[in-house]
Amino acid sequence: MNSAHLPVYILLILLVSAVTTPLTKANSKFFNIKLFGSLFFVNILALLQLLMVWSSGPLRYSFGNWDSAIGIEFLIDEYTSLLVLAIVIISTLIVIFSTKDILLDISKEKTPSYYTLVLLLMFSMSGMVMTNDLFNLYVFMEILSLTSCAIISIKDHRANTMASFKYLMLGTIGSVSILLGIAMLYMVTGHLNMTLTNETISTVWQFYPRNILISLSFITTGLGLKAAIFPLHIWLPDAYTVAPNSSSAILAAFVTKVYAFTLIKFVYRVIGIEVIKTISINEYLAIFAVISIIMGSMFAIGQKDIKRMLAYSSVSQIGYIFLGISLSSELGLSASLFHIIAHALMKSTLFLTVGAVIYKKGIRKVSDFDGLGYEMPLTLGAFSIAALGMIGIPGINGFMSKWYLSLAAFEVGKPIFIVFILISSFLNAIYFLPIGISAFLKESMYREQVMQKDDLPLSLKAPIVLLALGCIITGIFPDIIMSFIERALPTFLSIGL
């Protein structure tokens, strides 16, 4: 089945199953077969697409066979197909986790609409990653921002409503600024296709430097707001803390990453790195990235609620991706592309393990984790693996992304960034290590120090174990991801493709 229509099949299956999910009764046998059947098919198709792109090079798909100057075009290179596969697989694992866990937060009758939202979320994220058209990107982005607000507000509690209203307002300001930036680019070039825009800009940009500067600042501000870079992160901690566990896992794993990847597309594919360097946007990006790396960790240290702590650590991890973008070299770009997938694996593990603890014990205070490792060794083991990855212990993928980032900083002659990366690693250690240590070693007054087996249901256990394994495998064999990145790099860096 080596069809050229694979990207459309992926999106269509997700969309159709999203629309038809509420038609069947919740948690009946047919409902589960339909939901997981369609997710299984999407996984297979994403894998096929990956293999196809790997064997025959980047795929360009124009809808309805229109010329790329008129119609909408998808551009799927090696990295994009890998990212789509990662989105689909990790979201599927989170959906498996949510079958039991979501009942904590919403009633059984409402679960079909929750899955509709998750499927729409997967649909819009995959679309945003694959599209090569600026306005199409905006439409997918709006679907994404609406559904990501909705999976927070699905829990009928006033804190959720408030958090998702805040997210909606700030997210809309972000997308409106991005649309304004796109309008200004359209003013200069008259194209909406990214490749054609890049071709035009690389020839005429000297005549419109102010236009491009203003439009880029609108776009970076908008995407920074949505990806939660430091001074614009205020919506994120509330949203992640109050959302249902599986929702916060999806939000932290991919929603902010997709916006960061979109910024990579804008910087490298639409504008072109030469122009970026000349108008020195990347210098400003670097400043905000460093502030974000340090301040995110600083805020995380003082938190009592573990989900809020993880949320602030997300802010600092987004900073790494932005730092990689701002280095504007081949190594820097590959470091941030690597970190997108590495951090998605680690953060979803962390949020799912915390979700499992909340499911089983109902505790979410950091101080209540003492001695918990004896009761839930598997869960806390997975938590510790991902936490060590966040700190940057060799053997787990978080170390590799820090390693690549440091190499890149060294290569462009800015070793000062390595100092910041080290400081942030120490800060990460300050708030992540005590949890793992006290869970396994500290005596608790309320619990017996006897090792027990995790008696979690399989649907909670399996995703956690698989994601933690993913962290270790990509940490020991980073080449699995790097080989895709190396192949995809020319599509980002060459002008005019």
């Binding site: 439409v139 009928d156 006033r158 409503t161 307002m169 409106v176 304004l180 359209y186 003013m187």
Partner: protein, 125 residues
Amino acid sequence: MSNLSTIIDNINYIGAFTLFIIGLYTVLTHSNLLKRVIGVNIMETAVFLFFVSIGYIRGANAPIINPEVGDTFFVNPLPSAMILTGIVVAVSITAYGLSLLIRLYKDYGTLELDEIIKKEEIANE
């Protein structure tokens, strides 16, 4: 005189940015949440005005080919078509925001942000 004519020529763009700033100011500073939704709406309208103005050419015809007249200047129809999609998106955002506000009003009995924060503080104590 030339300054004045520049302003008159670019009045759409100036109007769009004025609206954008009015909207942004309302969203960021107003304590009434309903007015914040209205502010977002104003921002969206500003961008739509900007986008449609890009395609406008003074004295050009509507983009319908008429063989009797022959080739003339046409207004660019693409921005208008895109803004139709944009309006749909804006409507759905407004609808969702208002539905959230209805829930907030049921929970708190007010839409003023200061009072909501005060009630939240009392509830936390």
